[in-house]
Symmetry: C2
Subunit: 96 residues, 2 copies
């Protein structure tokens, strides 16, 4: 799982008094778990004439197996986490 625990402040220290402990977790999460991790920054450059037509659907959830294109993986991510992310769609005029 691609997240980093920045600090775990726990109230575990001396809890003879209470049966339950409170654990405060501050997570600072990476949003890209696995795509091109050897690159310092994953930026993609596309020329407008090279865009897939009539629709170019680009992933913004970092879970597509066809990244940078969307393969629908955002649906699973949203379901699992309650998130609401989705793709960017560039529409080209269709031929007449």
């Amino acid at each position: 799982m691609a997240y980093t625990l920045r600090s775990v402040s726990s109230a575990v220290s001396s809890t003879r008094a209470s049966r339950f402990s409170t654990v405060a977790v501050r997570a600072s999460a990476q949003i890209n778990p696995s795509i091109r991790k050897s690159e310092e920054k994953v930026a993609d450059f596309v020329k407008v004439e090279d865009l897939p037509k009539p629709k170019a659907v680009y992933c913004r959830c970092w879970r597509s197996s066809k990244f940078p294109m969307c393969d629908g993986a955002h649906v699973k991510h949203n379901k699992e986490t309650g998130d609401n992310v989705g793709p960017l769609v560039i529409e080209s005029p269709t031929a007449k």
Copy 2:
């Protein structure tokens, strides 16, 4: 913070023996902390003729104050989390 703790399994239960407790946290993180959270899915549709010229820089980190455009906020996110996300750039031909 936009993450969901799915389960916190803690070894806190009976720890008279040990001074330190192990807390296993499985976090399932939302990647969009705050953008258009009232929408079930944030998809954006752009017609190719409406793309900003000569470069359209689109956010994929969900932290831009100009979303769906990139405002450079990915730099802070990457620094804070060790992540490596960046924008999608659509380049239009420049006028001659």
